[in-house]
Every structure is written in C-alpha cells, then in structure tokens.
C-alpha cells in the first residue's frame, strides 16, 4: 500500500482509488436501506461513512461493520451521489487488515485470509483446504457441524481432498513479490 502522509483519516481514505466517493456523501441513508446485511453491522453503512469523515479511525478500523459487506452493490446502484460505498468498504477492510486491526465479532477476515493463502499456495482456491484451515483457525467445533454439508459435497464430486497445484502458481508468487517491491518503492 502506498504510504500516505494524510493528516486526517478522511484524507487517508479519500485518496485511495476506491475511497474517493467518501467526500460526496450527503448521509441520506439509501445505502443502509438497500443493504441486505445492514441490521447486523455494528455501525450502519452510512454511519461508517460519517465516522470516516469525523476522523474516527480506530473505531472504524476495529469495527466488524464493513466485513459484513456482501458486495451485492445495491448501495452503489442506488446512491444518489455516486459514492460507490461497496468499494469504500473494501478499502476500509484493506486498511484494517494492513494496520493490524482485529475486528471484534466477525470471522470474515479469517475466511478471506484463508482464501488468499489458498490462492497463493496453489494458484487457485482449493475450496476444501481453505474451509478446513478456516474452521480449524476460528472454530474447530463448527467444523463438525459442517460435516454433513462437506460430506454431501464430496459425495456429489464437488470437493476434492487434494489441491490442484498449477504451473502458474510459481509465476504468481514471483509476480506478487515483485509487485510489492515496486509498490513500496513509490
């Protein structure tokens, strides 16, 4: 991530490509109204935006709110100001994970982590491996309750034990490594 010399949280978020809509918000609440998961957010979607503008960095980044975003884009399509809230919430997720914030009350960051590890390790998502790692890390007991679903998927030939390690995965690692170097330089 580019090192920002932003003096406010608003600037920090607003200068990232996905976050530039944050300045345009008129707090109409359409995003919250359209969000299928809004009732489970710690702060409502438009509330999070208000907090960004108020500079409440710690509260926002340690919150579980944006991790409930389903990327369904209803908010983006209906926002009267073109804020693109979905992208904005992904930016906040990125800032939170890169600055080491552990969101209370959500396991989604751990799931995304498992996804990404699987991609880096295999070149493609190995769904079984990813889910196993996720459950073991967050909630081993839940893995047992998920057994029936897992077994069904196995028996219907929709899951494989072993990952398919593709040739391209080494290239991918090299590319990611180089990209990090290039990005940190700038």
């Amino acid at each position: 991530m580019e090192k920002t010399r932003a003096s406010t949280f608003l600037e920090e978020v607003g200068t990232m490509p996905g976050g530039k809509g944050v300045r345009l918000c008129i707090q109409c609440g359409t995003c919250t109204a359209s969000c299928p998961s809004a009732t489970r957010w710690e702060y409502t979607p438009s509330g999070v935006i208000a907090m960004v503008r108020a500079g409440m960095r710690d509260e926002v980044l340690s919150s579980s709110s944006m991790w409930h975003c389903l990327s369904c884009y209803f908010c983006t399509v209906r926002c009267p100001r073109g804020v693109k809230p979905t992208e904005l919430f992904h930016v906040l997720e990125g800032l939170a994970s890169q600055h080491g914030y552990k969101a209370r009350g959500t396991r989604t960051p751990a799931m995304y982590s498992s996804f990404v590890k699987s991609i880096k390790g295999n070149g493609r998502v190995h769904e079984f491996g990813m889910m196993l790692r996720y459950y073991l890390k967050t909630n081993p007991l839940a893995a047992l309750t998920m057994l029936p679903v897992g077994l069904k998927l196995f028996s219907h030939k929709r899951l494989s034990f072993l990952p398919k390690k593709i040739k391209g995965r080494e290239d991918l690692s090299k590319i990611i490594q180089k990209f990090r170097e290039v990005r940190d330089k700038s």
């Binding site: 359409t30 919250t32 359209s34 409502t44 009267p80």
Partner: protein, 666 residues
C-alpha cells in the same frame, strides 16, 4: 489622420495586479507606436477610472482608446459609453482582456506579464485601424407574445395588458391555468390554488388587450427584437368557440370515457370535454384520438355524434348552440410582436423509471400531482383520500427527493418538494386524522417567507419526520404484521437504524423537470439550455429573465424549478423589461455587422444559406445579396465564405485582424 492612442491598464484590485506587473505593461505601452499616453489605475471601470479616460480624450485629443482589463463581456459597453460621453465614437475603442485571458489563468508572473504586453500590443495595433461606426435604430412593435398560460404567463400577460398594450397569449392546452390549476391548497398559507388563480384566469379571458389563443402552439418565429413574426397553429377543437356556451350537455351525452390528463390518470373525462370545471376559455374540445365519430370518419363511417344529435328517445337534445363542427381544421395565424415571453413551465418527473419505488407496480404508490388531484375538492374523489380499493389509508408515507438530488436522474434540488411535502402532510392530518403520516427526507429546505414556520407547524401537527431517503418500497412481508402493507425501507439516520415502515399509501415527491419537448421549443425561440436542461438565462444572478436572444425572455419553471411567489416575481420582471423597451419605442441595432459591396458581389448566392440567423436575402432583380442589418449578428461566416471578397465584416476587417495578429507576434 494622425492616430493618438491612449492605453489604460487596470489593476482590477489584485485580480490582475496580483499576477501581472501592471507598471511594466504600462511602461511597455508607452513605447508603442502612436501611443500618446499610458496609465494604470486600480479600477478603470469606476467613476474616477472612467474620468481618466474622458479627461485624456478632451485634453490630449485622443482619437483611439485601449483599455487592458477584463473581458469585453463585462465592460465593453461601459468604456464605449465613456468614450461616447467624451465625444469619441464608441467604436474607436478596443479592449485587451488581461484578466480572464491572462491573470486569471496563469500562475507564472513573469510569463503572464509578457503575455499581457503582447495582448496590449495587439489591441493597440488593431485599434489603429478602427473606423467610426454608427448604430441604427428600428421601431419597436408594442405587441407582446406570451407563450404558456400558467401562472407565469398569466401574470406577465396581465401586467402588459394593464398597460394597454396588446398581448397574444398562446396556450397549448384547451385551458389556461397550468399546473397551479391542478393544486389543492398552496404552501405555506394554505390558500386554495383555484381561489387565487381563477380570478386572474377570468380577467385574462375577458381582458380587452389580451387575445387568448388556447389549444394553440407556436410553430415558427422569425425576425429580431422589436420586429418578430410569429406563426401560430390553432388546433382544431371541432367546436366553434364563438358558439359554445360551456353548458356541458355534450359531456353528459358522450359515451366515451378515457383517463384525464388533468387528473393525472386517477380520474376520467369524456372524448368531448372541458379539462376542468373552471376552464378558461369555458369551452369544450373534442379529442380526435378517442372520439368515435372522428375515428370513424377516417374509414368513411358516420357513427355516434351523440353530442350533436342528442338522445331523441330520452328527449335530451344535442348541442343547442350548434357549436359542434366535425369538419373544423387546424388554422395558422400570423402575428407581429416586438418581444416574446416564454413561460412554458415544467413537467413532473415520471418515477416509473425508479424500479425500487414501485410506481406503476403497486396501486397505492402515487405521485405528488396525483395526490393534489385526490385532495382537491373538485377532483375525482371529491377531496377524499382513498386507496385504490376505496378504503381510507391508515398510514401514509411521503418520500422526498424522487428524481432530484440524484446523479442517476437529476442532480439538482427541485426546490419546492420539501414545502409541498409538508403541505401534503397537513392535508392528510386534516382529512384522515386517525392515520399516521411519515415524511422521509434528507434535508428540510424551507427558505421562503413563512416556510420554516410552516415546518414547525407540521411538527406540532404530529407528523412523523424520519431523516432518511427511502431505499425501496416493497410488499414482500418479512413478518406477519407486514402482510397486506407496503413497506418503506429506509435508514433513520438520526438514530442510525434501518427501518421498515408499513404503510398503506406512498406519495412520491417527484422532481420538476424540463418539458419533454424543451429542445424543440428552444430551437423555435433561439434559447440556450443549461446542463440541467432548463432554458438558459442571460446571467444567473444579474439577468435571470433575459436570454442571449434579445427581446426573448424566459419566466417561471421553464428557467428552473421555483415556487409561485418567485414565478410571479419573474413574470412581473419580464413584463417590466418588455414595457421598458415598448416605452422607448425603438431599439438600437449593433453596428458591427456584415455589409455587402454590391459592385463586387457576383451573385453566386454562396452566402445566403450559410447565415445562421437567416439575415441574407437575394435581390433577384439586381442579382446581389443583401444583408438585413437588424438580423445580422456579425458572426463573420459570410465574410469568410464570399469567394469574391465582397462582404466586409464591420469592425472585423482583414486589416484590423491582421494588425491584431501582428501585435501578438512581435
């Protein structure tokens, strides 16, 4: 003759002097050919500044003046007048724009100063070749055309007619009254719209100086300020206006029932109809799309005609005035006027394009104008607020900003919706006192006289104000108590909670938008349009009713959404402007126009179709082109196109332009 040029460099406060070194420019100007004096001053456009110029003209015998300051659009008339006052022909003056073209667009001081010097040098060289020119005057026709018979047009027409000048009022619909005639009560005073409007409508209908042409449209406008020729199509009513008494018998007899435009689709009318009971003129009109007889005539059949024949068996006679005339045809009428006031109004945004709000899918989601008609005592429900199935609603939600403040539809705020939404809440509290009323808003905009107080009143009347724009309206229930209701889903942003509010009826406060045919109308009257689609005024602050076409004014909502007080004020403003021109009786024609040297003209006619203002005509006898001085705007198209070089653009001669270019390059 010896040229004696004076150069005046303006500081314009710090606008110019902050970037351009005005002292250096002045020194530079002193060294230019034929420059007798060069000065700089803080504000040359001010009285003392102008006096500098005037004194120098008199004392130093200047015969050419250059002012290096702002854009000519700002102050060319100011300085031309100053020259004239001092006895110098105003066309012996030139401006160098070292503000908008220099100090305001550059940051590098040194380079901006060099550029300013070049601009001054160009102006000095050019003005050397300026010739004195005289403006002409043409007589000003005192007739006025008012287009549109809503409150804006009515007000303008009455003010001009009361000054005893002839007004032609053209209205597209069968009756004047516009949108205001559809309203129930008006905010914030809760006057009944019809009660305050109908007296004016009646006066218009009877005024000796107003010729009302209803059910008519302007087809073409030609000419220029003071002398417009207007073609108006008088659409066929199929009813003789002179004979019709407005008794309404024909309406009773007509068997065809269709949705009424005036009732916005919640009520019906007959194929022969008056749009509403207080229509002016109080005459009926036949709708050819739905009249069985008129439709039958196309196939050579003679059907119905109950309005004309009556029902013999029931002993009800047809039109006793003999006013029905199925053979009537559209007519074209030509009038001559000196000024035109365009008051064509707005249309309501159609919310069917906003899928989530359910307009057109759910019966009980209605628009603001539909609610006006429902609430109106002379509307289809006799003023009762009813659901589609005839029941009274137990709860109603009013949604603000439908189509406004929305980059997907209209970015602008429609200005009146907060107020009329408050009005609807009040009417609902009055008519269905046991019902819960919700108003979902983003902001409450109540700027006018008595407006904020009206908001306070509605808070006292127990309306539930929810600060949150509705995300959707849905009938899909998530809990048993939601069955059979419409759920308005929003975030109550003040408590930061998502809410699903179950209601029976939803009223959408829709945007005011430009009419669908605004493009066509703009072309007819040579109007510009702003980015939001409304007609463009000459200057948004200092000249809101004039347009770039001299003699044509725009008033009311066709210029932008506004309430009735502002509309009436604009109408009076335009009337005053028209009357001012009428009282001088003449209009000045700009002198910097094109002129044909008939000896050089070869009669090739290349110029004639090129003129964007249709100012060039061809004299078939002499075989030469002739330019109408009043229509010509001096654009230069014909000058450039003429293969014989027979046309000169006064004040833009080749000599002058080449000199200007040289001045820049040297």
């Amino acid at each position: 003759m010896e040229r004696r040029i004076g150069v005046y460099v303006c500081h314009c406060g710090s606008n110019i002097a902050g970037t351009v070194d005005v002292e250096k420019v002045t020194e530079f100007a002193k060294g230019l050919d034929s420059v007798v004096v060069a000065r700089n001053y803080k504000y040359v456009c001010s009285d003392p500044g102008q006096n500098l110029i005037k004194e120098d003209i008199k004392q130093l015998g200047l015969n050419r003046v250059v002012v290096a300051s702002c854009s000519p659009l700002m102050h060319e008339p100011t300085f031309r007048r100053a020259c004239l006052d001092a006895g110098l022909n105003p066309y012996l003056f030139e401006m160098a724009n070292i503000r908008e073209h220099c100090s305001w667009v550059h940051e590098d001081s040194a380079m901006a100063t060099e550029k300013a010097k070049a601009l001054v040098s160009a102006a000095v060289r050019r003005v050397y070749y300026h010739e004195p020119l005289e403006t002409k005057e043409v007589p000003f026709n005192s007739n006025v055309l008012v287009v549109g018979g809503g409150i804006a047009g009515i007000q303008a027409a009455l003010e001009i007619a009361d000054s005893q000048h002839q007004v032609y009022l053209v209205e597209r619909d069968p009756s004047i009254g516009g949108h205001m005639a559809m309203f129930d009560k008006t905010f914030p005073t809760l006057d009944c719209a019809a009660c305050i409007l109908t007296p004016k409508m009646t006066t218009v209908g009877q005024h000796p100086y107003i010729r009302l042409m209803s059910y008519s449209e302007v087809e073409d406008v030609s000419g220029y300020i003071g002398n417009f020729k207007v073609k108006i199509k008088r659409k066929a009513r199929y009813v003789d206006e002179a004979k019709c008494t407005g008794c309404g018998r024909c309406e009773e007899l007509c068997p065809i029932n269709v949705l009424s435009e005036f009732e916005h689709g919640i009520g019906k009318r007959k194929a022969i109809y008056k749009p509403f009971a207080q229509a002016v003129p109080n005459k009926v009109v036949i709708d050819p799309q739905n009249c069985s007889h008129l439709k039958g005539l196309k196939g050579g059949k003679d059907v119905c005609r109950l309005c004309q024949k009556g029902m013999e068996k029931k002993g009800i006679p047809g039109c006793e005035a003999g006013a029905i005339d199925f053979g009537q045809e559209d007519k074209t009428v030509e009038v001559e006027v000196g000024s035109i006031i365009v008051a064509t109004g707005f249309q309501q945004f159609d919310p069917s394009v906003m899928y989530p709000y359910g307009y057109g899918r759910y019966d009980n989601v209605i628009t603001g104008l539909q609610f006006e008609r429902m609430s109106n005592a002379s509307g289809p429900t006799r003023g009762e607020v009813l659901l589609a199935d005839g029941r009274k609603p137990e709860s109603i939600a009013i949604l603000h900003c439908v189509g406004s403040r929305d980059e997907n539809y209209h970015r602008y705020c429609s200005r009146v919706c907060c107020m009329y939404s408050l009005k609807y809440s009040h009417l609902l509290r009055e008519k269905v006192p046991q019902a819960s009323v919700y108003q979902l808003y983003i902001d409450m905009r109540c700027p006018g006289s008595g407006y904020e107080e009206f908001y306070e009143r509605l808070q006292e009347e127990g309306v539930n104000f929810v600060r949150g724009r509705a995300g959707e309206v849905t009938n899909i229930a998530e809990k048993p108590e939601e069955e059979g209701k419409l759920m308005v889903v929003c975030e109550d942003t003040l408590v930061r909670r998502k809410r699903r509010i179950p209601v029976d009826m939803v009223i959408l406060s829709c945007a005011l938008e430009p009419r669908a045919d605004a493009e066509r109308v703009a072309r007819i009257f040579s109007l510009g349009r702003k980015a939001d689609g409304f007609f463009m005024e000459k200057h948004p602050k200092l000249d809101p009713v004039a347009t770039m076409t001299d003699g044509v004014f725009i008033v009311g909502c066709c210029q932008g959404p506004k309430d009735i007080p502002d509309t009436v004020a604009q109408a009076s403003a335009a009337a005053a402007r028209a009357l001012a021109m009428i009282s001088t009786g003449k209009v000045e024609i700009e002198a910097a126009i094109a002129v044909v040297n008939e000896e050089l003209c070869s009669g090739c006619k290349t110029c004639v179709p090129l003129c964007p203002y249709s100012a060039i005509s061809f004299d078939e006898e002499k075989k030469v082109s002739r330019i109408n001085e009043a229509l010509c705007k001096g654009c230069g198209t014909c000058v450039a196109a003429c293969p014989s070089g027979a046309i000169t653009g006064r004040h833009f001669t080749t000599e002058q332009i080449v000199a200007e270019i040289e001045g820049l390059l040297v």
